[in-house]
Amino acid sequence: MNTRDCGHIISGSSPAKGEAGKTGEWRTQRPVLNREKCLAVKANKDICYQCWAFCPECAIERKPGGPVDLTYCKGCGICAQICPADAIQMENEYDSSEQRKND
């Protein structure tokens, strides 16, 4: 058996929250969940989770209505696009400034 330490010879990343740094700083829009539409919230079961699976920053927690970690959510809107129930709306950071105070 042969082993060799690969060290930092090439650039690489792995699928994990925070792998690309504090990507929340890039955000101009944030995802806002409509709990009345979300399939997982309505059934209160581990179902759907398309938003969780597709979030490139692993920023959504895997539970019904799982909160989004805004330190890492970069506001790409993929979750809103992928949601089969249209339960996620992207809102401008400017408009949700009230909400920000409560973050």
Binding site: N2, C6, I9, I10, G12, A16
Partner: protein, 427 residues
């Protein structure tokens, strides 16, 4: 991270033999056959190439080995050179020893992927059968193709004859897999690729001893998925595990450092090869009658072989001339080369390519390495043999004779020094 060396792979690796038609010993072969047999002996596992003159026979030969069941490699026919290098990159990341070959416009078409290969630090070996770049269209030899890719971050080694092609392919894998850099084995189209010469085909078992199995630097592991070469920003940053990862610039520094470090490795591997197989393939560069020389020719490739004749002819006329045959163009052996050129009064570089708007690339690099060493010899840039223009020994001899006399009589003018001199250009 760790990598397992599959026992099955190793047993296949250890129980192999030469191609049936090419047992160890003397053969009369073309340069292209020589390159193909070299790749065979190294036990390449994936070959991807697109045919282009004058490279085609290399991959024809290799595809025949695969088709006849002699070489257990995956032969991937692709629709372009860009894809050929793409396949090589994928296969090399996956841990396969890969080979490809191309020429001229094919190499240019690969350009983007050449940078991916070297930036990913993959030990891909590629035969570059030197041919002129269009336009106008040409299929004949010069070295503009590989010179134009000088800054793609590959190791570039030039071969002088067909023996050196097979030897350099074998050495190339050893170097590449040690420093994790791709190697371009450059040899002149037609002059070597299609010309037969006697040469020694090494024994595969000896080659296997010389060349241990390839261990990738970043093994693919399904339980530990990695995104290789993601967007890498200018500044270093922490990853999710709190490990500080290099920024783009650190990676480029490491890449460059690996190339500079390979100067020693190229020499070491060549001397070890000499111990095993009894002959050198030219180290970083080789010297001929330079010890007492006052005027020295510097060139690369098959031309350096011919220039041995030129030096002998001129020595008979009592011209104190010598020859430096450059084998490693990238990395450029600046320090050792300038030491070899110390005390030489006149240096005549001959390029079969051009850095358009200035002079021959070899000349430019020779001048710069002399300057940094504080050597103020006169260097003259000659351009010869573009697009297959035949270069005859007497033409080089007459030119060298002429310029040496001009030098002695203080007749070199600024036109000779600041502009490249075109040998046998009939304009």
């Amino acid at each position: 991270m760790t990598v397992l060396n599959n026992e099955k792979t190793i047993s296949i690796y250890n129980n192999s033999s030469n191609p049936k038609a090419y047992p160890p010993g003397k053969h009369v072969l073309t340069g292209n056959q020589s390159a193909a047999i070299g790749a065979f002996l190294c036990g390449v596992q994936v070959i991807a190439a697109y045919p282009i003159t004058p490279q085609s026979p290399v991959v024809e030969e290799l595809s025949k080995f695969v088709e006849d069941g002699e070489l257990s490699a995956e032969f991937v026919p692709v629709e372009s050179e860009h894809s050929a290098m793409g396949v090589c990159i994928g296969a090399s990341i996956a841990g396969a020893r890969v080979f490809t070959a191309t020429s001229a416009n094919g190499l240019a078409y690969m350009c983007e992927q050449l940078h991916w290969a070297s930036g990913s630090r993959l030990p891909i070996v590629m035969g570059c059968v030197n041919r002129a770049m269009a336009a106008p269209w040409s299929v004949l030899n010069d070295q503009q193709d590989s010179m134009s890719q000088r800054d793609a971050g590959w190791i570039q080694l030039f071969c002088r004859d067909n023996q050196e092609i097979i030897d350099t392919v074998i050495q190339a894998y050893r170097i590449a897999e040690k420093v994790y850099l791709p190697v371009m084995v450059c040899y002149d189209g037609y002059i070597l690729s299609h010309t037969v010469m006697p040469l020694e085909v090494p024994d595969e078992n000896k080659v296997k001893k010389f060349l241990p199995p390839y261990i990738p630097h970043t093994p693919i592991d399904i339980n530990n998925p990695v995104n290789i070469n993601p967007v890498t920003l200018g500044e270093p940053r922490y990853n999710a595990n709190g490990v500080l990862c290099h920024g783009y610039m650190e990676h480029k520094y490491l890449h460059h450092k690996a190339l500079r470090d390979s100067l020693n490795i190229i020499e070491e591997v060549d001397s070890e090869y000499k111990d095993t197989f009894g002959r050198s393939a030219g180290g970083l560069f080789s010297l001929y009658k330079t010890d007492d020389a006052e005027v020295v020719i510097v060139c690369a490739g098959s031309l350096s072989k011919m220039n041995i004749l030129v030096v002998d002819m001129l020595r008979e006329q009592n011209i104190p001339i010598g020859l430096v045959s450059l084998r490693s163009y990238r990395p450029f052996p600046n320090q050792k080369l300038s030491a070899a050129l110390k005390n030489k009064k006149l240096i005549l570089t001959i390029d079969k390519s051009l850095s358009y708007g200035y002079q021959g690339p070899i000349c430019i690099d020779v001048k710069s390495c002399l300057f940094e060493a504080g050597i103020s010899s006169i260097v003259i840039s000659f351009i010869a043999g573009l697009g297959g223009r035949d270069i005859k020994p007497y033409e080089i001899a007459e030119t060298a004779y002429d310029y040496w006399n001009k030098f002695l009589n203080n007749e070199l003018n600024s036109e000779n020094i600041y502009e490249s001199q075109w040998i046998n250009c009939k304009y």
